[in-house]
């Protein structure tokens, strides 16, 4: 299990390649990558991501532990950035490796649902017209009831 919280960009392709390389006997690899999406009117200048150093790593580790407890994972990776990101930059990724695809899919889906609502990150959108904190979505909270 690898957890990285960092300001620097990560190389999604390279991370996928090395995760798959180190999980060669797993059979099934699932990865997710989250990308900063511009607003519909293309007004987003910066997505500022704040986090709670210390608690973030702790929360991510617990979420990953829970995924490993629920599914037969051979490995799992979470990378999450903080700081100022521009549209089309990669914010975060998760990767899971398992013998069977159903475990790899379910665990990655679970990690994402918990990351959204239970890891201490907050997003602020900065546009030419000002800045606004992104509100948590009811649908993200509801997604947790699936598990």
């Amino acid at each position: 299990m690898v957890i990285r919280v960092q300001a620097e960009p990560f190389d999604y392709g390279q991370e996928c390649a090395s995760f798959a390389q180190s999980s060669k006997n797993s059979g099934a690899i699932v990865t997710f990558c989250g990308i900063v999406r511009d607003n519909d009117d293309a007004s987003l200048s910066i997505m500022q991501i704040e986090h709670y150093p210390g608690m973030t790593e702790r929360a991510l580790s617990r979420i990953a532990d829970e995924a490993q407890r629920r599914w037969a994972l051979e490995s799992c990776l979470i990378i999450h950035r903080f700081g100022a990101l521009r549209p089309s930059e990669q914010i975060m990724m998760v990767a899971t490796a398992a013998r069977h695809r159903s475990d790899a899919f379910a665990a990655a889906d679970f990690l994402m649902d918990y990351l959204k609502s239970r890891a201490p990150f907050w997003k602020k959108e900065i546009t030419a017209n000002g800045s606004e904190w992104v509100a948590a979505k009811a649908s993200d909270e509801e997604a947790l009831t699936r598990w």
Binding site: Y52, R58, M92, P120, W122
Partner: protein, 83 residues
């Protein structure tokens, strides 16, 4: 006891500082927030709607009625938006 209180996102902006040390005898998080709200308007403003807030004690998610006995660090913030 002395608690280290951390604020994040718009809570931090309304309180005006990212963290502060507070001397308190509050039994729970809710009591602590009420105590701070009585001290200054900026706290009252930030804590007016508890349903818009989340709390962690010593870096674990907690409830407003969680006891503060033994706690060192309390964090107050809006619902998280990771991912």
């Amino acid at each position: 006891m002395t608690l280290e209180i951390l604020y994040f996102a718009w809570v931090r902006e309304r309180i005006g500082v990212p963290r502060e040390s507070v001397e308190t005898n509050a039994a729970t998080v809710a009591h602590l927030l009420a105590e701070l709200s009585a001290r200054e308007d900026r706290y009252a403003l930030a804590f007016s709607d508890l349903s818009a807030l989340r709390v962690a004690i010593d870096q674990d998610l907690a409830d407003f009625d969680s006891p503060l006995a033994g706690a060192r660090e309390v964090a107050i913030f809006p619902p998280m938006t990771g991912g």
